[in-house]
């Protein structure tokens, strides 16, 4: 951004903290951006003639006579079809060596969709993974995170889901992404020949943490362009939202705000909701679906970040290693897709909801049997059968390397029920049992 002639340059900073600086200035708008010695900054507080700026890349080396130029606008991004296939940093500047994108300049973090103008999400997103399609079906316009420990292959599963989801555009928002993971995404999308429908906004661990705060808004503003104006199906991948929230707490801490639970700012819920609620199904056909990653520490979902996320998103997906089969599975107990009710049994076969519930209930019985076994008790015949069922169910349906269509998942379910249980043990509606119980 060039400095125009009429812009006033301020050179007298009165206060510098680790993330912010203050100066006396007039006619400044709230949330306006500025450059402080070339570094991008944003107005976070105005009190009388004193303006406080948050400098995204940190204040190291900022002198009191730094040049401050106000831009007269909030952070923006230029949107057009040229975005496709490109890689950008958190500010929306290209990092792939290509030219700057030309297009319509729009402010990021814009207004929300009027709820009465939304359409109810109703289009199933098949992924081929039974742990998702059968038990936690995804729908366009949904927002759902993976809750995962750092050692789990969430980025791999997310990339797989993204590629199978048949989206028109995939927008990757990487926050605090390690360089290795960045290259992983780049390669896997490239190998799939999908690079031309991918747009990436990347903040790696090498970049200053506060810059991350811009990434979701950049990604979602681009998504809104394609979904709303071009009526495209857009899938937004945000990884890792825990690092985003950490950046929020850094800023709030440096602005002397009183922290609430787990040192997070009191506004964490609203801050996260503003991002996730951009997921939407437009009546004209375009949609924004958000799949995010929230890393946990030691599986603790009561921490403020996963907790607030869980209240905002429409479900969550848990990955877990099942030692019985030696594979990673989608945990059927703790995973949930809230929007599945809109499609299962409606766009899929009638027996879908009941097969799903029966399978999970029997899997839960197996978990109880396992506890019994561990406590040194004898197992009865039913317990034995649930354990055998659980192993098959895990291997043939829950494992993340499964790639079959939903009808086959349901048929597999019935086959496993019939192999291990009687009809009465299922608790499924009689008419469905009549129809689908394997004949031989």
């Amino acid at each position: 951004m060039e400095t125009s002639a009429f812009q006033k340059i301020y050179t007298k900073i009165t206060q510098v903290t680790k993330a912010t600086c203050s100066l006396k200035a007039e006619g400044i708008g709230y949330e306006e951006i500025a450059r402080v010695n070339g570094r991008l900054a944003q107005v976070v507080k105005i009190q009388g003639d004193t303006v406080t700026l948050q400098i995204f890349s940190g204040t190291e080396g900022i002198p009191t006579n730094a040049e401050v130029v106000f831009m007269g606008k909030a952070p923006t991004i230029k949107v057009s079809d040229e975005l496709a296939g490109r890689f950008f940093n958190a500010y929306g500047d290209p990092i792939d060596g290509g030219p700057a994108v030309e297009g319509k300049e729009v402010e990021i973090g814009g207004p929300s969709v009027n709820p009465v103008r939304r359409k109810q999400p109703s289009e199933l997103i098949p992924t081929g993974i039974a742990g998702i399609d059968l038990n936690n079906t995804l729908v366009t316009g949904q927002k759902i995170p993976f809750f995962a420990d750092p050692d789990q292959p969430f980025n791999q599963v997310m990339a797989m889901v993204a590629l199978r989801a048949k989206a028109d555009k995939i927008i990757l928002g990487g926050m605090g992404l390690s360089n290795d993971d960045y290259l992983f995404f780049k390669n896997i999308f490239d190998n799939a020949g999908a690079l031309d429908r991918i747009i990436s906004f990347i903040n790696t661990t090498e970049n200053p943490p506060v810059e991350r705060l811009l990434v979701p808004d950049m990604a979602l503003t681009a998504a809104e362009y394609f979904a709303h104006e071009k009526h495209e199906k857009v899938l937004v991948l945000l990884t890792d939202m825990t690092l985003y929230a950490d950046a929020l707490s850094i800023v709030s801490n440096r602005m002397d705000q009183i922290p609430s639970k787990d040192s997070m700012p009191g506004s964490l819920y609203s801050d996260l909701a503003k991002i996730y609620e951009k997921a939407v199904q437009f009546p004209e056909g375009g949609s924004i679906t958000i799949i995010a990653v929230t890393t946990l520490s030691g599986g603790d979902i009561t921490h403020a970040i996963p907790d607030n996320t869980g209240y905002i998103t429409e479900g969550q997906l848990f990955l877990r290693r099942d030692t019985d089969i030696g594979k990673v599975i989608v945990d059927p107990f703790r995973s949930l897709s809230r929007l599945k009710q809109l499609v299962i049994g409606k766009q899929t076969r009638k027996d879908h909801p009941q097969v799903m519930n029966a399978g999970i209930r029997l899997f839960a019985d197996a978990a109880n049997a396992k506890t019994k076994l561990e406590n040194g008790f004898d197992l009865n015949d039913y317990d034995e059968r649930t354990l055998k069922f659980a192993k098959d169910y895990s291997r043939e349906l829950l494992a993340i390397d499964i790639n079959i269509d939903i009808d086959s998942m349901l048929d597999t379910g019935w086959r496993l029920f019939a192999e291990h249980f009687t009809k009465a043990e299922l608790g499924i509606k009689d008419e469905l049992v009549e129809k689908y119980w394997p004949k031989n």
Partner: protein, 585 residues
């Protein structure tokens, strides 16, 4: 002369305004941002500085912007035409807003001024009236909507004239009243009322003495909600809070439902928008939307308006209660409202209470809950507001300030249990931790005896004992092992399981099972208690599990069948045969 002011400070949506005249606490003002007026509320005054919370984004706002103060608090507009509307937290009609995205500063009229209503007078010249007295009636959709003396009128009035039967617009004069000093005042069908002030146009508020039927068995049977009562549902995410609230909103026996979506997911509101115009109210055969008004401030809408949204909902409920209607008010979730209070308190740098919530949180919550209730109106008619709120405790921990404060205020507690949800035992209301204080009220016990059955109260308390003893038996079995306990422990456990599976668990997505009228609830509970009272003959614990599993399966089929249909009776016959096979002689 209206007070004016200039902006002198901006911190997110807290804007500090220097005023040139008198300003009052909670007064509404409009801040001019490049020609757009942004609505704000005064929340603190220091000398000439008024601290205001802006109900919109303040992006681009500059120091020195003009502010005009309105001289009144945040008000809602009351009159015919509220029913079936979709409002935001400030009572803007969302359907009248243009464009896909919400534009800040776009305020729309809550009531269509051009709509005509068929008016029938109730009062006549010479009648003595006061605030809330019924002057006439229009038909709003299908509901009789009373036109009342505005609540702001104090003292006694005499009716001078009331318009004759005919079509009028909401702003037309429909009556002239004479006050005690002989001054005439005109009344229209529309009035305004500040949301934070309770409407008290009633004679007395007795203790609730009737049950509000919800069709949700675990609530109605075990812990019933009273008409005019209060309840709350705390629970970690993913436990089915919203599904449960939607079920109640669809099935509850109320004349009017107000759903306040407070800081929750937009798609959940869209679900109501999409389904309520289609779904039928089983009691009237009309569409659910015809008895519903939605106030929605979803989580991405401005935070300050979230606080307003629950008050807007309550004030509209009070307005309809004054017409003698049975109103059910739902708020999902009150925790988001508390968080909105916390954000503002934080920006004002107030000393924080527990978990950084403002110190007066318990007082704010109990004040709000106390606005619900059953009332006798001044004309002897009755009306009620039943309030059911959800709470989203951080980390699912019920020992947090919002849950604790609400527990002190609400009379019914429906604790959602993570373990129940994990094993898909929905609705996941914990039958042992949850309670309804109303069951202890003699007037409620009397009502249950009269309206359900003579020994209903005993049956309910027996059911609770069965569940508790079942849980104890299951703990014993887990500690000592299947063969380490007497067989009757297994029997005790499984009898509790029958009650759990047949009465407590309910399929909210099955057309028949989702709603159970009281008559059927009573019938089913009797059948389940029959099983409990039957002595069985088991030779080993291994026989217990398959026997009761089969019984449960048959009962479940019964729950899925039309009440007293051939199928229903057929399953009952099978159950009885099964019982007879094992009955101890």
């Amino acid at each position: 002369m209206a007070t004016k002011g200039k902006v002198t400070g901006i911190i997110a949506n807290l804007v500090i305004v220097e005023a040139d005249g008198p300003v009052s606490q909670n007064e509404i003002c409009y801040i001019n941002l490049k020609g757009t007026d942004l609505m704000a509320e005064v929340i603190k005054i220091m000398g000439v500085k008024a601290y205001t919370q802006v109900f919109e984004s303040t992006r681009g706002l500059k120091i020195g912007a003009d502010v005009k103060f309105m001289g009144h608090m945040l008000e809602v507009t009351l009159g015919p035409g509220i029913l079936s509307r979709n409002y935001d937290g400030l009572q803007n009609d969302l359907d009248k807003m243009k464009g896909v995205f919400l534009k800040r500063g776009e305020y729309t009229e809550a009531i269509d001024p051009e709509a005509e209503w068929d008016f029938t007078p109730i009062a006549k010249a010479g009648d003595k009236v006061e605030a809330g007295s019924w002057l006439g009636e229009v038909t709003e959709g299908w509901m009789p909507h009373k036109i009342m003396v505005p609540f702001k009128f104090s003292g006694n009035y005499t009716v001078k004239s009331v318009n004759s039967k005919g079509k009028y617009k909401s702003k037309d004069k429909i009556a002239v009243l004479t006050d005690e000093k002989g001054k005439d005042v005109e009344v229209t069908m529309m009035q305004k009322w500040p949301v934070k002030v309770p409407i008290k146009a009633y004679k007395e508020k007795p203790r609730p003495f009737k049950i509000m039927e919800t069709g949700v068995r675990t609530m109605d049977t075990l812990n019933p909600l009273a008409e005019g009562g209060t309840g709350f549902i705390p629970g970690p995410f993913g436990c089915g809070k919203t599904v449960l609230q939607h079920a109640v909103s669809q099935q509850a026996e109320a004349d009017m439902i107000i759903v306040t979506a407070c800081g929750e997911r937009a798609n959940e509101v869209v679900e109501i928008f999409t389904e309520f115009p289609e779904l039928e109210d089983p009691r009237t055969g009309r569409k659910l939307m015809e008895r519903t008004t939605i106030i929605c401030n979803t989580s991405n809408m401005p935070v300050a308006a979230r606080e307003a949204s629950v008050y807007t909902g309550m004030t509209i409920a009070e307005y309809y209660r004054a017409m003698g209607l049975k109103v059910l008010l739902l708020a999902d979730s009150t925790s988001r409202w508390a968080q909105a209070l916390r954000e503002m308190s934080n920006r004002m740098e107030e000393l924080p209470g527990p978990d950084a919530f403002p110190m007066d949180l318990p007082a704010i919550i109990s004040n709000f809950y106390s606005r619900a209730g059953f009332v006798y109106l001044n004309n002897g008619q009755t009306g009620s507001i039943t309030f059911l709120g959800t709470v989203s405790p951080a980390g699912g921990n019920l020992k947090e300030p919002v849950t604790e404060s609400t527990k002190k205020a609400a009379r019914c507690f429906y604790a959602l249990n993570q373990d129940r949800a994990d094993s898909k035992r929905y609705p996941a209301i914990d039958p042992i931790d949850s309670y309804s204080k109303y069951l202890e009220y003699p007037e409620i016990q009397e009502y249950l005896k009269k309206n359900i059955s003579e020994n209903w109260v005993e049956m309910v308390s027996l059911s609770k004992d069965i569940l508790l003893r079942g849980r104890e038996a299951s703990e014993q079995i887990n500690i000592l092992g299947d063969d380490g306990v007497p067989i009757e422990y297994h029997e005790r456990f499984w009898k509790a399981e029958v009650l759990d599976f047949v009465i407590l668990q309910q399929d909210a997505f099955d057309n028949i099972d989702k709603s159970t009228p009281f008559e059927r609830q009573e019938y089913m509970l009797e059948r389940v208690l029959e099983i409990y009272h039957t002595k069985f003959d088991f030779k080993s614990f291994e026989e217990v599990n398959p026997f009761f599993k089969a019984i449960i399966n048959l009962f479940k089929q019964m729950n899925y069948a039309e009440y007293k249909s051939e199928k229903f009776d057929g399953y009952l016959k099978q159950i009885n045969e099964k019982i007879n096979e094992r009955k101890a002689v």
